[in-house]
C-alpha cells in the first residue's frame, strides 16, 4: 500500500467564521474539508456566539499539499486571529489514496 506525505491543517474556532474559511480553503486549492461541531474551552471561547440551534465552536480540517496548507494558514492568521476565537495548526500525515487530495492544475 502506498502512503502519500501530505499536510493536515486543523482550525478550531467560532462557528460563525468556519464556513467562510472552508470556502476560502477550497479556493486556495484544497479538494475538500471536514467540519464538525465540538465543545471546548480556550482563552477567548467566552466570546463565541452562534445562530440559534448551532454549536458555538467548530473544528475544520483540510488534507492538502504543503503550499496550500501555508496559504490557508496565512489566510486564517491574517483575517481572523485578531478579533475571533480561533486556533490553527499543521501536522504531517501519511494518506492512503493521496492523489485525491491534490488539485490537478
Amino acid at each position: 500500500m502506498q502512503l502519500y506525505p501530505l499536510k493536515l491543517v486543523t482550525i478550531v474556532g467560532e462557528t460563525l467564521i468556519m464556513e467562510e474559511i472552508a470556502e476560502e480553503g477550497i479556493k486556495l486549492g484544497a479538494t475538500g474539508f471536514t467540519l464538525v461541531d465540538v465543545i471546548g474551552k480556550g482563552s477567548r471561547s467566552a466570546r463565541n456566539v452562534s445562530f440559534a440551534g448551532e454549536a458555538k465552536t467548530r473544528k475544520l480540517e483540510f488534507v492538502v499539499p504543503a503550499d496550500v496548507a501555508v496559504a490557508i494558514l496565512t489566510f486564517v492568521s491574517h483575517n481572523y486571529f485578531e478579533h475571533y476565537a480561533c486556533i490553527a495548526w499543521l501536522s504531517d500525515v501519511a494518506v492512503v489514496r493521496g492523489e485525491q487530495y491534490v488539485v490537478k492544475r
Partner: protein, 370 residues
C-alpha cells in the same frame, strides 16, 4: 449636572414616584408579578447554576420550546390581527405600527449616544450593545403578555405584529452606525499593516437577521394565522387555536420550562457582571426604564390599551440576545460580545422579568391608558 444613573431615573421613573400612592401600587404590582411561576422558575434556574445544582434542560428541548413559543406568538397574533382587521380595517393598527418603527430607529441611537459619550466606550462596543437594545426579545414579550392576561387587562391583539416590526430596524441602524464610524479606524489600521481593508459583512449580517429563526417563524406564522382566520371556517380553526393559544396551559407550561433554562444560562453569565463594570450594570437597568417609558407613553398616544402599553413598553425596553449577537459578531468583530450579551441576558432580561414589566404596567396606568 446629575450623574448618569440619576438622570436616567429622573427621566424614566421619577414621574411615577412623584405621585405618593404610586410607589405602594408599584410594590403591589411587583409582588403580584414576582410570586408567580414564570419569574420563580427563572429564579430557580439562576439559583441552581449558582449552587452548581443538577437541573439540566436538554438543548433540543430548549430549541423545540423556542420554536413552539415563536410559532404560537405568530399564529395567535395573526389570528387576532385578522379579527381586528375584519372589525376595524387598518384604522387601529397603523399608528402603533408607525410608533414601533419610530422607536425601532430611536432606541439604538439613544443607546449608542449614552454608551459612547456618557460611558466612554469604543465605537464598536457602543454600536454592538446598541444593536442588542434596539432589537427586542420575544420571550420578554411572552412573559409580559402572560402578566397582563393574569391582571385581566389583555393587550391589544396586534402586539405580536409590533414585535416582528421591532426586531430588525434597531439591529440594522446600530450596525450601520458602527460600520460607518469604525470605517476610518479600519482603513487606518489596514494602511498601517499594509493589508487591504476587509469587506464589511453588514449586508450578510442583516440578511441573516431577516431570515433568522425568530423572524421566519413569527412572521411566517403571523401570515398563516391571518390567512387561515380569513379563509377557514371557525370550527376547522379551533384545534389550532387550542394548541397555540397564549392563555392555554401548554403555552404557559412550556414558558416555565423555557424560563428555567434562561435562568440557568443567565446564572452562568452573572459571573461576567464583574467584568462588565458598574456603568454597564446601571445602563442595563436604567436604559430599559427610559425606553420602557417612551414605549408606554408613545404607545398610549398611538391608542394602545392598558395591557397593550405595558407589553409595548416591555418589548421596546427589552434587548435581543438571540438575533443580535451573531449579526454584531459578523459586522463588528472588534466589539466584545461578553459586554453586550451579559448586559442583555444577565442584567436587562432578569430586570424586566422581575421588575420592569410591573413597572411598565404602573407607568401605563399613570399615563392614563385604559
Amino acid at each position: 449636572m446629575l450623574p448618569l444613573p440619576a438622570t436616567l431615573i429622573a427621566a424614566g421613573l421619577m414621574p411615577l414616584l412623584a405621585d405618593g400612592g404610586q410607589f405602594a401600587r408599584i410594590v403591589e404590582s411587583l409582588e403580584r408579578n414576582l410570586l408567580t411561576p414564570i419569574p420563580l422558575c427563572f429564579l430557580l434556574g439562576i439559583i441552581c447554576t449558582r449552587i452548581h445544582g443538577g437541573i439540566k434542560i436538554p438543548k433540543e428541548l430548549y430549541y423545540s420550546i423556542a420554536i413552539f413559543l415563536l410559532m404560537s406568538i405568530g399564529f395567535i397574533g395573526g389570528h387576532e390581527l385578522a379579527d381586528e382587521y375584519q372589525a376595524h380595517g387598518v384604522s387601529t393598527i397603523w399608528k402603533p405600527a408607525l410608533v414601533t418603527l419610530l422607536l425601532g430607529c430611536v432606541t439604538p441611537i439613544t443607546s449608542y449616544v449614552v454608551l459612547r459619550y456618557l460611558g466612554g466606550m469604543s465605537i464598536a462596543d457602543s454600536a454592538g450593545i446598541a444593536a442588542h437594545y434596539g432589537s427586542t426579545s420575544a420571550v420578554t414579550f411572552a412573559v409580559a403578555n402572560s402578566f397582563v392576561e393574569q391582571t385581566q387587562h389583555p393587550a391589544d391583539s396586534f402586539l405580536p405584529t409590533l414585535v416582528t416590526i421591532l426586531e430588525c430596524p434597531g439591529i440594522a441602524i446600530a450596525l450601520v452606525i458602527g460600520a460607518a464610524f469604525s470605517a476610518r479606524e479600519r482603513a487606518a489600521k489596514a494602511a498601517a499593516s499594509g493589508r487591504p481593508v476587509k469587506e464589511s459583512k453588514l449586508g450578510e449580517a442583516l440578511y441573516e437577521v431577516m431570515t433568522g429563526q425568530s423572524i421566519m417563524l413569527m412572521a411566517g406564522l403571523l401570515v398563516i394565522g391571518f390567512v387561515s382566520t380569513l379563509f377557514m371556517p371557525e370550527k376547522g380553526l379551533e384545534p389550532f387555536l387550542e394548541f397555540f393559544k397564549s392563555k392555554g396551559m401548554l403555552f404557559r407550561g412550556v414558558l416555565c420550562i423555557f424560563l428555567l433554562e434562561m435562568g440557568l444560562v443567565a446564572g452562568e453569565k452573572l459571573g461576567d457582571l464583574v467584568k462588565v463594570g458598574p456603568f454597564l450594570v446601571a445602563f442595563g437597568i436604567l436604559m430599559p426604564l427610559l425606553h420602557g417609558f417612551l414605549g408606554v407613553y408613545l404607545g398610549h398616544l398611538a391608542g394602545l390599551n392598558l395591557g397593550g402599553c405595558t407589553v409595548f413598553g416591555a418589548i421596546v425596553s427589552s434587548a435581543s440576545y438571540i438575533a443580535a449577537p451573531p449579526a454584531v459578531r459578523l459586522t463588528l468583530p472588534e466589539a466584545n460580545p461578553t459586554l453586550s450579551i451579559t448586559a442583555a441576558l444577565a442584567i436587562t432580561f432578569p430586570f424586566n422579568i422581575a421588575f420592569g414589566i410591573p413597572i411598565y404596567f404602573e407607568m401605563a396606568k399613570w399615563v392614563g391608558a385604559q
